[in-house]
Symmetry: C2
Subunit: 485 residues, 2 copies
């Protein structure tokens, strides 16, 4: 294959083979000691790092993203794989819990009960377009599912097919070289292939990052299977940011600058882009916001399809009566950010248009008349990945009342910062009430992402030799355990 051949859709026969291999690998891959899977993840990370000089140009060619951005993203991606290796080495992800037999228990003799988490089985990952490494073939879904002990089948995103194919080859080779069972990882191509895989009984869970309509359609397939499976969709988010009057007074110019950097970066193609900035009516930052926005250079979007979608949504939002342009922007050959403004009442009267994500470099400054109106706005949201508050000590009571309302509608709350840039950390939550995600109880970034692909099993009075290692008395894997009684 040369660099310009198209990547054909995976055939039904090839998909069948991939799924059969994944199902066949589930038992042995899941049974590997965590330290072994940690070694495999490290090998994948090393192989991807080693291939950087090949992968970065490939990613640039297919995504219009900058070398600096992609270099950082690849680093983050291999960091993430190694972080999950650490999670495996540490072992508390297994949730091992031992409750010894107790003949004197209040409700009558209690048996010996030992509980731990086991892998769900083959996981289908729908790759995203906007992070060709970190949320694509080698991304967080793949890393966390492999860490959990689940074979992974990635449905590649059509936005960067050759990069996906090449990364898939590198991962498969690294796994195979280091002794992973054949079938623990595979990449498939094509829309129909993805939905066929999602319907296949051998697939036990799926993860997705993308738009609300696509994510909801896939969620509906997963939920309507004869045997429904967990579907972790990260869909759309407005990521509102609220600024109190005192914060405007104390740091108005800095806030304007930070906001523009956050909403316009990567041509606004981030799930945590702040799509709405709430300012007091007399904020006086219009000129600063407009001029900062105009200073952002031209950036081509990830694909023509996304560019068209952006143009259409931009026209729709700009056309709402009561919405005014602060910075016109450009949408010809690439994009320069567009900044709009309106007030809370116009926003609330046009929820269907204005309270829906615009994927691209557009944001709306919304002015509130008083604290009550700001609180009213904070109650208008559906679920979000993030919500941000800029406040000062002197108006912390108002700030607290906003934060409280935002907490019910978001998975991450930021103070005096901006939501873009998601740290890969044990305390990260990248998820939120619908439609931010289809299951707000889980995260797709950070070490807790592994929890999505595990389920508990309890062993009752099972003798030592038949227990899994993590539950045996002498704890051969030396995993942290909760022992009761």
């Amino acid at each position: 294959m040369t660099a310009t051949d198209p990547i054909p859709d995976t055939t039904a026969a090839d998909l069948e083979a991939v799924l059969q291999r994944a199902a066949g690998a589930a038992e042995s891959f899941g049974a590997l000691p965590p330290a072994e899977r940690a070694r495999l993840l490290g090998a994948v990370a090393d192989a991807l790092d080693a291939a950087g000089t090949e992968l970065l140009p490939a990613a640039m060619a297919e995504t219009n993203l900058s070398e600096a951005r992609l270099t950082g993203e690849l680093k983050r991606t291999t960091f993430q794989l190694r972080l999950f290796a650490e999670v495996l080495a540490e072992g508390s992800y297994l949730g091992a819990t031992i409750d010894p037999a107790d003949d004197g228990f209040a409700l009558g003799p209690k048996p010996d009960l030992r509980r731990m988490l086991v892998p769900l089985g083959p996981v289908l990952v729908f790759a995203a377009s906007n992070f060709p490494f970190a949320f694509s073939v080698p991304g967080g879904d793949t890393a966390s599912a492999l860490a959990a002990g689940c074979p992974v089948v990635v449905k590649a995103h059509p936005g960067h097919p050759r990069l996906s194919a090449r990364v898939g080859e590198i991962i498969s080779a690294a796994l195979s070289e280091h002794g992973a069972p054949e079938g623990a990882f595979g990449v498939v191509f094509g829309f129909e292939t993805g939905t066929a895989a999602l319907r296949d009984p051998r697939v036990k869970a799926a993860a997705f990052t993308g738009s609300v309509p696509a994510g909801r359609a896939l969620f509906d397939i997963a939920a309507s299977r004869p045997t429904p499976i967990p579907f972790f969709g990260e869909l759309g988010s407005l990521n509102p940011a609220f600024v109190t009057p005192a914060a405007v007074r104390a740091r108005g110019a800095e806030i304007a600058k930070g906001f523009v950097t956050s909403y316009s970066g990567n041509a606004g193609q981030l799930c945590t882009k702040p799509g709405l900035l709430f300012l007091p009516a007399d904020h006086g930052l219009e000129d600063a916001l407009a001029s900062q926005s105009r200073e952002v250079g031209l950036h081509r979007m990830l694909s023509d399809r996304l560019h068209e979608g952006y143009c259409s949504r931009r026209a729709e939002v700009t056309g709402v009566p009561g919405v005014r342009v602060l910075a016109e922007g450009e949408v010809s050959d690439g994009t320069v950010p567009t900044l709009l403004t309106t007030d809370v009442q116009t926003l609330l009267a046009n929820r269907e248009t204005l309270l829906e994500e615009v994927f691209g470099p557009l944001s709306i400054v919304v002015t509130y008349r008083d604290e009550d109106e700001a609180r009213q706005a904070a109650e208008a949201f559906e679920g979000n990945l993030t919500a941000t508050l800029h406040a000062e000590e002197e108006d912390s009571e108002f700030g607290a009342s906003l934060l409280n309302r935002l907490r019910d509608r978001a998975g991450r709350l930021l103070f005096n910062g901006w939501p873009t840039g998601v740290a890969v950390s044990p305390a990260m939550q990248h998820g939120g009430p619908y439609p931010a995600t289809t299951d707000s109880r889980f995260t797709s970034v950070g070490t807790a992402a592994i929890e999505r692909f595990l389920r508990p099993v309890t062993y009752q009075n099972v003798p030592q030799t038949l227990l899994p290692e993590a539950l045996r008395d002498h704890n051969p894997w030396n995993v942290p355990r909760r022992v009761h009684g």
Copy 2:
């Protein structure tokens, strides 16, 4: 109302009021310190214990269950409420995790991140018929949701409406007396009421224990809402038990006795009833099994509807060619257990009839010719709540190969025991792959049941005064936390 008035269905207007109060209570109830909610759970437990002499006859009248059984069940129910009070007092259920800021972090400066679990909001509980206390109005779903900080609306089971109404009054009075916000708890009646509540946007999660068709219909409603919600359905389970030849030799008579006690107890109306017993072809226990079964006394089923359903399924299963009667049983005015027998090949050839739960006192002894055939049978199951193995040290390799297969198909694995009787313990898993439950990652019994009704929120760089107590530096609630870095 006198003891014989029917309980009318909740009107649409009354349901609206109940849901509005529940939504109104969500913030204040969820914000109570865990120790406060622990006190409320204790007060509910005390009130139910104090009402035992009134509640037990009421339960007996509506369920045909014995006083001894119901006395034990009420004790278990109040124990469970107090156990969740302990979970709250201990505090690790909050999953508080602190990852301090790190300017030298590998991927660039990392903010201060603090993560904890918060309540989902109002939970709808569909009560079960077979445990009028422990899986009904005051049961595990209610206890765990209240513990999580979620207001609870119980849709009462029509099998014991007056008991449900009375228990609801007692719980509401205890909560109100001890200062819970109005609306933290309510009971509603009627099928249409339940489905209307499930569709209501104020309801944020639902739990159900019952049959596969009913549970699946409700799951489908929950998943197809404009905003889908988590639905925890505990549906049907066959609970297969496998006995190795060495176990038959060592303890055949004891196994026969234990099995009959387990499958026939409470007229077989338990979700963990062993519905299939796998024995080697030459087991020689037919007479023992048949005579033990015949010795079980007449037991009326919970309701006429369940009795009719049982008679119809019993006729269907008994009519399969190749299925032979070991103990005929009775189904006239009440039931005496029915024990059938067949072989693995007949079982596999009639999956649709024989590999589906019979709710009532019937079980099937299935003979296997050799180890391979037993393993083949162990691979035939869909999801189960439990799977059981009886083995001896001398055939532990065969046992291990069975256990391995059963692990992929069950939430709890028992060794040389019987699955009925579910200990309320931190290490319990009462859940399993579909159709045992609609979400195998969670349990409806044991302290981990609280995890169903919580979601994570991360606070990024939020100052001490705006942080929830559990995440503040000085840890005023003194909850266990994971602190990184």
